[in-house]
């Protein structure tokens, strides 16, 4: 190889350092055209991923040093503010120079949370408001899914179709083999049509999971959860997991917001949990109340004020429509919550 050729090859390859939050680092070479995820997968770096198309956001990382560009034509579930802060989805990101990227979970996470496939049977099917159903289902006896982290999701295959949709469990690992979901039923959509027209107790659905890196970090610091609509589901799993772990000595704020009062659900469950956990403060927010409304009259994120940020290490979880997530992140950062302590779940409303 001539020296000129060597320079050319060097220019086309970059060294990528994947750094996990348990301190474990992997180094790998990126060739031209390879996404960070391709690099990781080609070198057995345990980066979490699921959809490979930039829509599930499981494979998120944060750039520490170096230049990492993004493919912008593809559907991206990254918030503009996240992109600005250096977050990238590894499946649609490319190393332009040598770089170091941080993954906010331990290097053992994917091994400990391997997805598996099984079947669930619907046990309870309940309309909890005009457009939301609550489904309680049992995993098949031979299911391999023995644990998941509070906040993670699974994919469910819509019966009679080849379509898969993602839903977070509202139940906890302690409830296994029972799993509970809250699902919003839209005017049209394969899952929505199934739920509205055909779903019944006894139905079987294929399930694949668990997935996702939006999960409860069990650190002993104040916790803020901001949920929009059925974004409440993963928060319910987190609240119950905190409760079962006797997390009682730091405040937990759960801000749950909907546009209209008729969109609310699970109010009694939340009230009970407030009784059980002295440190839990549930703020139910309606942004466009019609008639008398005694709760917060604002979007969920704006029920959080400066007085609520009592610890610089406060952890926040956001799960709602993209606009809510975006605004909530801005708001929390303006109140002093550190960007790296804000965990966001994509919440698709197609």
């Amino acid at each position: 190889m001539s020296s000129a050729e060597a320079v050319a090859v060097e220019a086309l390859t970059s060294k990528v350092t994947f750094r996990f939050n348990d301190g474990v680092e992997y180094e790998a070479l990126s060739n031209e055209g390879e996404s960070l995820l391709d690099v990781a997968r080609g070198n057995e770096v345990p980066v979490i991923h699921q959809c490979l198309t930039g829509s599930c956001a499981s494979c998120i990382c944060k750039v520490d040093t170096g230049e990492v560009s993004m493919e912008t034509e593809r559907l991206m579930s990254l918030l503009p503010s996240e992109a600005k802060e250096g977050f990238r989805l590894t499946c649609t990101a490319y190393a332009d120079t040598d770089c170091v990227v941080d993954l906010d979970y331990p290097s053992t996470f994917s091994e400990d949370h391997e997805a598996s496939q099984s079947v669930i049977t619907i046990n309870e099917f309940e309309w909890v408001n005009h457009n939301t159903v609550r489904i309680v289902a049992d995993l098949a006896d031979d299911a391999e899914m023995e644990s998941f982290e509070a906040g993670q999701y699974v994919q469910l295959k819509v019966p009679g179709t080849e379509e898969w949709r993602s839903y977070s469990m509202s139940s906890t690992v302690r409830d296994l083999p029972e799993v509970t979901f809250y699902i919003r039923v839209l005017e049209d959509g394969v899952m929505s049509n199934y739920l509205r027209d055909r779903a019944a107790v006894g139905d079987e659905l294929e399930i694949d999971g668990p997935y996702g890196v939006f999960y409860l970090r069990e650190e002993k610091v104040p916790q803020i959860m901001i949920a929009g609509g059925t974004g409440l589901a993963p928060m319910m799993s987190m609240v119950d997991t905190l409760r079962l772990g006797n997390f009682r000595r730091k405040p937990v704020i759960l801000a749950f917001g909907c546009s209209f009062e008729k969109d609310l659900f699970a109010q009694e469950d939340l009230e009970l949990r407030e009784g059980w956990m002295r440190n839990l403060d549930v703020r139910t927010c309606v942004s466009r109340p019609e008639g008398e409304w005694g709760g917060h009259n604002c979007r969920a994120q704006f029920s959080i004020t400066q007085d609520d940020i009592t610890d610089p290490e406060t952890i926040a979880y956001l799960c709602g429509p993209p606009a809510m997530n975006e605004s909530a992140r801005d708001h929390l950062e303006s109140l002093g919550v550190k960007g790296e302590n804000i965990h966001v779940e994509l919440f698709e409303t197609v």
Partner: protein
Amino acid sequence: MANSKNARVANDKNTKKQYQPYMEAEWGFINHWYPAAFSEELAEGEMKGIQIAGIPIVLRRAKGKVHALLDQCLHRGVRFSAKPMCLNEETITCWYHGFTFGLEDGELKTIVAAPDDKLIGTTGIQKFAVEEVAGMVFVFVCEEDWDEEIPPLKNDLPIRFPEKNEEFPHPLWPDTPSLLDDNVVVRGMHRTGNANWRLACENGFDAGHLLIHRDNAIVQAKEWAVPLGIKPLDDQAIAIIEDDNGPQGFLNRYFTDSYEPVLENPILDIKAYGENPKYFRTSMFLPGVLMVENWPEEHVVQYEWYVPITDDTYEYWEVLVKKCDTPQVEKEFEYRFENLYKPMCLEGFNDCDLMARDAMQNFYSDGSGWDNEQLADMDASVIVWRKCASNFNRGIAQAPKGVKGSTKGQSKDFAAAALGDWPGMDAYATGREYDKS
């Protein structure tokens, strides 16, 4: 009347949802004060191993003071109390490999045969707060990472009088004594019951269970007019006691207009008998302590604890508390305790309760009983207790690992059953003095 056989009026699914944490507390509540021993069971220098809410605890009295440490050596996990060994008054030594821990702080101070080991001074075992009052030793059983101020013992004992006289008047027996009062004499006993601790708690104040005491010798001998049952009439029957800085639980307003004694059942032609009215009142507090006022005699109070050991055994504590202002009063009370109340009440009368709780265990042991039970109006206080316990507990004990009861049907349990007992159990139950010579 279709489906009437399956009606669940008093305790439907929606009601159950309201006390989910109680259902989850199979191993008990944690971060509470529990009775651990009578003072007289721990002589100077003696060691005793117990287990509370799945946590093995070793008690040792040194220089008069009782210490409580985790009863599990950090080296290979054996219980110190299996073969007590203390080589001085400041430490406890593991009989197996000689790991030696400070009684005051639980730190690893030295290792008998390895005084230069690098582990020394870097690690230790959990230490628990202890209070000794009126002849009883209480331990604050908490999570390892408890980092708050420990709540006072009084918050985990029944309410006191006269401070509660106005709120809960009881003209027939003013100023119920408390364990914490001056000049009280506390006499009692404890033994192990084979049921989940919650079944035992619920039996303690269950207003409908008086039937099992109908034929008890003390009831017959004293001709006590014990009703067949006591029926709640209105929402004043049960008072919930919620106080961030005091005991929390509830009180049954027996013998007021809110409760009606059931004296006969004409269908079965059965009547309450006994000529002598027997007035008493029950109340229940976190983490599971019952107070029966004016029982078994006037101006005496009976306390009961149902201390979870595992998820299927509990330590049943019964004590009588009486204010004794003169030695003569004390002497007479001691006499009645030994000769009347211990054999005929704490044993005779309450043996029936012990049997009833054990008898419930099969139905509840796999969890299905909580779903399949059919509670009735008489169980109002059971449901109130479950909700109170859900709201007022300081933490749910986690299912433990590596301790007695964490796996069922261990080979040594089978061996114990085959032999009638396991030889090592003797040390667990009583503690033994280590003979240095």
